[in-house]
């Protein structure tokens, strides 16, 4: 499979007209964040409104920019806006500039659009928190950093945004910082992301070494002339970065823990936008991954995606925490996207398509989960829920629409995006096609299973919460949430239903200037067969879930005597154990050992020399006995020695 090399670099135009003000996209949310953070308690009253206003303004500007771009020729849609030289040192010039092209604009709309909805939702969700203002500041900070990530016109500006969203994510996961688990989860997220960041950083260093620049235009123009080793190394290092940010194997363990943050955060950052940055990175680097020499890198990408896809599904089947199941679902859905972009020119657009539809329905699902928890004293254990459909009708309906979209119910969003990925994977041809296609199909079945389980345990069946009290001793009084929360859910539900159908036709063509033409290959099975197969397998998964959980009473306590696969899945397939055993514990031991070495060894040596000098002078001191005659004797001895030495020199 040889992709046409897409030298986007040759076609970059200077931004003009309305695009000249694109820096507003960064400055608006950043301004909101700064005002809210510096303003302190003075801004408590209107802080959330400022937060919403800045993000909505960015969204409106994004729309204007979008429509002004669609009116251009396809060739003129890739534009650069140079702001200033950021780090210029001799042959290295890191620019601070923006790349406005279909890919980045698509992300701008997703980020500011979903971001606006979640800002509005947060007004209701966080209404009881006395630090709501600060929450909005952090959300704004996140939006600004995420926009920088997608808009930057070089890998270093991308890295800036990349770590910026990491910071926002850290702050928001650790929102309830009085609780140790939240603080630990935040730290874990940041650290695992840093591991990925090292990959991204090294990729940037390789680019500078071999191509003398880190700007997209130069790098993508030069990448074709590099040796296969360099191309594959950069490809795999970028993937490592993507793994960190997108919760891909082997760096997936932080994402479920990240659910310690408030639910809007889970929806915005850990489902819809930030975690998809890895997909963006690979799609953005499509000129690299599309090269024939990068075939090995692409294969690694697909393998990582496929492993994660299955892993997320399997663990998702066993968890009892509402948000963590959704988190693992996110992990596995991003696995799909990574598989898609790993396909190369046949998949970039499909990956982005799934990313967008997933942004809608997963954000909706999380907001639904937040709405449930908001009404249930923050209870997240699905075994203690149940039968909430009647108490929360709007939440139930919107959530179910998102659920159907996710499992690929015909003609809803997921159906268009996920089926297309499965089909493209099968079309790879040969064993590879069957393996990845098969895994993707299996994943679809598992997804249907765990999502149906979630639906049944939360919304259907008997209300198991009636005789229980929450951890703080209050009884449960489930109620529907207010309009600031339901309206965003309704909008997202509409998106979950319609986005796939609308976008699947237009998106590939729209993205062409950025990621190249979508190459549709025809595999062993026709599109219709694949669609039917996927729907059937999903139906089987859902059916099994109904059979297992739909009938009879579900225990409130979690069954402990379970088979090995369930135990393994509950323990994250031992991912955390592995990290603990391989890195954390040896690290602690090594640290303690080094502290010992430093105190006793290195410093001991220094203090030892000092003590040795002191001790030996203490001994030497004893020669001064105070007996004058012994001094006289030593003087005599000394004189004789000197004379002897003189004579030796003289006559030797």
């Amino acid at each position: 499979m040889t992709g046409t090399i897409n030298l986007a670099a040759a076609e970059v135009q200077q931004a003009s007209g309305v695009a000249n003000a694109a820096w507003l996209l960064l400055v608006l949310p950043a301004f909101g964040a700064v005002v809210l953070l510096l303003g302190g308690r003075r801004t408590d009253k209107w802080g959330h409104l400022l937060g919403i206003a800045t993000v909505v303004a960015a969204f409106v500007y994004g729309l204007i920019l979008f429509f002004s771009t669609t009116s251009l020729d396809a060739a003129a849609r890739t534009r650069d806006l140079h702001l200033f030289d950021w780090i210029p040192v001799n042959s290295l010039n890191v620019e601070f500039g923006l790349r406005l092209d279909p890919l980045s604009l698509t992300f701008v709309l997703l980020i500011t659009g979903v971001g606006s909805l979640i800002h509005i939702y947060s007004v209701g969700y966080m209404s009881d928190d006395r630090d709501r203002r600060r929450f909005f500041a952090y959300l704004n900070l996140f939006v600004a950093a995420m926009l920088l990530l997608v808009l930057g016109n070089g890998f270093v500006t991308l890295y800036f945004g990349w770590e910026g969203v990491g910071l926002a994510s850290y702050l928001l996961i650790g929102w309830y910082q009085g609780k140790d688990f939240a603080a630990t989860a935040a730290k874990k997220a940041f650290l695992m992301n840093r591991v990925g960041d090292v990959g991204l950083a090294l990729a940037i260093f390789l680019m500078f070494k071999n191509m003398g620049s880190t700007q997209y235009d130069v790098v993508f123009a030069q990448i074709g002339h590099q040796s296969t080793g360099v191309i594959v190394s950069i490809g795999i290092l970028l993937l490592l970065g993507a793994c960190g940010k997108s919760g891909q194997f082997p760096l997936q363990a932080w994402l479920p823990d990240a659910m310690a943050g408030p639910t809007p955060v889970s929806a915005l950052i850990h489902a819809a936008t930030m975690v998809t940055a890895g997909v963006y990175l690979i799609a953005r680097s499509s000129p690299l991954y599309s090269l024939a020499q990068a075939a090995d890198a692409r294969l690694v990408v697909m393998i990582i995606g496929a492993i994660t896809l299955v892993l997320g599904c399997v663990i998702g089947c066993a968890y009892d925490d509402f948000k963590k199941v959704l988190a693992y679902s996110t992990v596995s859905q991003i696995g799909y996207m990574i598989v898609a972009v790993g396909l190369g020119p046949a998949g970039y657009a499909l990956g982005i398509l799934h990313l967008l539809t997933h942004g809608f329905f997963k954000a909706g699902l999380f907001l639904g989960a937040g709405s449930v928890m908001h009404g249930m004293n923050d209870e997240g254990d699905i075994r203690r829920l149940g039968g909430l459909a009647k108490k929360m009708p709007i939440t139930f309906v919107t959530w179910t629409l998102g659920y159907l979209a996710l499992i690929g119910f015909p003609f809803l969003s997921g159906y268009f995006s996920k089926d297309a990925i499965i089909e493209a994977a099968l079309a790879e041809g040969g064993t590879r096609g069957w393996v990845f296609g098969g895994i993707a199909l299996l994943g679809a079945g598992l997804t249907a299973f765990y999502m149906t389980r979630l639906l049944i345990l939360v919304f259907l069946g008997k209300p198991r919460w009636e005789n229980l009290k929450s951890a703080d001793g209050r009884a449960y009084h489930p109620h529907e949430s207010g309009p600031t929360m339901t309206v965003p859910m309704i909008i997202l539900a509409i998106g979950s239903v319609a986005a796939g159908g609308i976008l699947s036709g237009m998106l590939p063509e729209w993205l062409e200037p950025a990621v190249g033409k979508l190459q549709e290959e025809h595999g062993p099975l026709s599109a219709t067969v694949v669609s039917i197969l996927t729907v059937v397998i999903s139906a089987i998964g859902a059916g099994i879930a109904f059979a297992l959980f739909g009938r009879g009473e579900q225990p409130v306590a979690r069954p402990e005597r379970v088979s090995f696969p369930v135990r393994a899945a509950r323990a994250d397939l031992y991912g955390n154990h592995l990290n603990e055993a391989l890195f954390a514990r040896p690290g602690v031991w090594l640290t303690r050992f080094l502290v010992f070495v430093d105190n006793r060894g290195v410093d001991g040596l220094v203090n030892g020399i000092a003590a040795g000098l002191g001790g030996s002078s203490g001994r030497l001191r004893r020669l001064q006995t105070g007996f004058v005659r012994s001094y006289a004797l030593s003087m005599l001895g000394g004189s004789i020695l000197v004379i002897a030495a003189l004579l030796m020199v003289r006559f030797a």
Binding site: S91, E163, D180, V195, L202
Partner: protein, 541 residues
């Protein structure tokens, strides 16, 4: 490209004033030490004026002009060819500016510190001003003998600052600090004399003039260069602390008063890395190239070792020292990776480390001032009581782990990206050090600021056991958030961290020409040449 040793004397009065003003200040403050209030005001006044002078010198400096500017010189010991001569290049200038920035902040931070029995504020601040004068001199000296003298004299005020005003084991720490540095300095003296003798053989008359020595020693045979190199290197490696010559720093930092720790880590230690750049590379280019792997190993070992030890510390001030050791590893890595990017990165790292770590030390000092303990285990959940302090703690910490958007990122990125082409393996290990940086910063932040309220220092402040006060309420009564003075001290640092993180060009523009001149003197060539055009390439004359 200007001649790497060209000198211009325009504006020399500025440099002279920069040198003399703190001296004058020290004298005046000592005279006023009877009254704490006036002494403090005078010290602050002098340091602020000095800072403004530093700014003027910055703007008077022409990046494209001569290598050494604002120079002046007169005889000191004519029979040995020793001069008192000072001048600044871009590298020295930014360091002098940083000194000018830090001293007023340190004075502001130490405004209300309790000193040991029988010590006056006036004496303390006078010593700080004296130290300032001497460090400015060290960075600006262009006579190698003068440099040596100042390098050693600089220890004396610091010895008293630690030994008279420090914590429990201050005497031990001060003596250790002094002996370590002094010994290193003596070894350097041997090399300084060696250079003098070589100049004597070569020119017929010995000289200590830096620019002349560079040209003389430069062509010496490799073996001679290596011996002379080691003399200087050991002195600088002690000062910069490179592993394994670092053990004085944790003790000195732990025992020094907070402000003095800032000066120690932020300025004094920089003399070591400054020496690498000003003396080792230009004077002994062959030896530097030959021995670069050795230094790189020490540098990278420092990055990892410092970071791991920082994670293992129980004492916050010792933690700060190990963090600095890791950072100095990055600086040394950049210097001995020999590319203009990595060298520029190292110089900006010196500046940004002073700002970021200086802020971290000040913030930790504010934590300690509230809790009265330096042990990490005595704290926990402090963010609830002091949200502003927690936020600033986090900003300083994030800057320490080189988050993009903070000034440290620019320098760390430059160091690593510039080092990679010449020293890929070392750079990869150094990059892994980034993970450790995140680990130790967030670890400390979590222990001190996050989680439920705990720890003797905080809960104990409620009034001891037996009182029925809710710990949170009680603690809040005793432990307040930042005062206006403390905010004022930290604000400029935050502004600089963010400002230089997003727009570092003003510093880069000043530093790059000096770095290019150093590259030329050391006959180094950038491994990566510009892609687009030749204009950005480094050209030596």
């Amino acid at each position: 490209m200007t001649n790497p040793t060209s000198v211009s004397s325009a504006g020399s009065w500025l440099l002279a004033a920069l040198l003399l003003l703190p001296l004058l200040g020290a004298v005046v403050v000592v005279a006023l030490r009877g009254n704490d209030g006036t002494a403090k005001a005078a010290a602050l006044g002098f340091s602020v004026v000095e800072f403004v002078l530093g700014l003027v010198a910055w703007f008077r400096f022409e990046p494209s002009g001569a290598r050494l500017q604002q120079s002046f010189s007169f005889d000191w010991i004519p029979s040995f060819g020793v001069h008192i001569s000072f001048a600044v290049d871009g590298i020295a200038l930014v360091m002098i500016a940083v000194i000018g920035l830090l001293v007023p902040l340190v004075i502001g931070a130490g405004w209300a510190d309790k000193l040991p029995e029988g010590r006056s504020k006036g004496g303390f601040f006078a010593l700080i001003l004296l130290e300032q004068a001497l460090t400015v001199g060290v960075f600006a000296a262009t006579d190698v003998f003068l440099f040596y003298v100042l390098f050693e004299i600089m220890l004396i005020p610091m010895y008293f600052l630690i030994g008279s005003y420090g914590g429990q084991r201050r005497q031990y720490a001060a003596v250790k600090f002094f002996l370590y540095s002094f010994l290193g300095g003596l070894i350097m003296l041997a090399s300084v004399i060696g250079c003098y003798v070589m100049a004597g053989n070569e020119l017929g008359k010995g000289t200590f003039d830096w620019a002349t020595l560079v040209q003389v020693v430069h062509d010496a045979p490799l073996s001679t260069q290596i011996w002379l190199f080691f003399g200087f290197f050991i002195a600088f490696a002690v000062k910069a602390p490179l592993v394994p010559l670092h053990t004085w720093l944790p003790d000195a930092t732990a025992e020094a008063p907070i402000g003095v720790a800032v000066l120690l880590v932020g300025i004094l230690d920089k003399v070591g890395t400054f020496g690498f750049l000003r003396y080792l590379l230009p004077m002994f280019p062959d030896a530097s190239r030959k021995l670069a792997p050795l230094v790189l190993v020490l540098a990278v070992a420092g990055i990892i070792y410092g970071a791991m030890l920082a994670t293992g510390q129980r004492d916050m001030k010792r933690f700060l020292a190990y963090v600095s050791i890791a950072h100095f590893g990055f600086i040394a890595l950049g210097i001995f990776a020999f590319s203009s990017q990595s060298l520029t990165g190292s110089v900006t790292y010196m500046v940004n480390h002073s700002i970021a770590t200086g802020m971290l030390i000040l913030v930790v000092g504010m934590v300690i001032a509230r809790g009265g303990s330096t042990r990490v285990a005595d704290y926990g959940g402090m963010a609830k009581l002091t949200p502003v302090l927690a936020a600033l703690f986090l900003i300083a910490g994030l800057s320490s782990l080189s988050l993009p958007g903070t000034s440290s990122f620019v320098s760390e990125f430059l160091v690593l990206v510039g080092s990679f082409p010449n020293a890929p393996v070392y750079t990869i290990i150094g990059t892994v050090g980034m993970i450790f940086a995140a680990l130790y910063v967030l670890w400390l932040y979590q222990r001190v600021m996050q989680g439920p309220l705990r720890g003797n220092a905080l809960v104990g402040a409620a009034g001891g056991p037996g009182t029925m006060v809710d710990p949170e309420v009680g603690a809040k009564r005793a432990i307040g958030d930042l005062s206006g003075r403390e905010k004022l001290v930290l604000a400029p640092l935050v502004l600089l961290i963010v400002g230089l993180g997003i727009f570092p060009k003003p510093v880069l523009d000043i530093v790059t020409p000096a770095v290019n001149a150093t590259m030329c003197q050391a006959a180094l060539v950038d491994p990566v040449q510009a892609v687009q055009s030749g204009e950005r390439q480094l050209q030596c004359r």
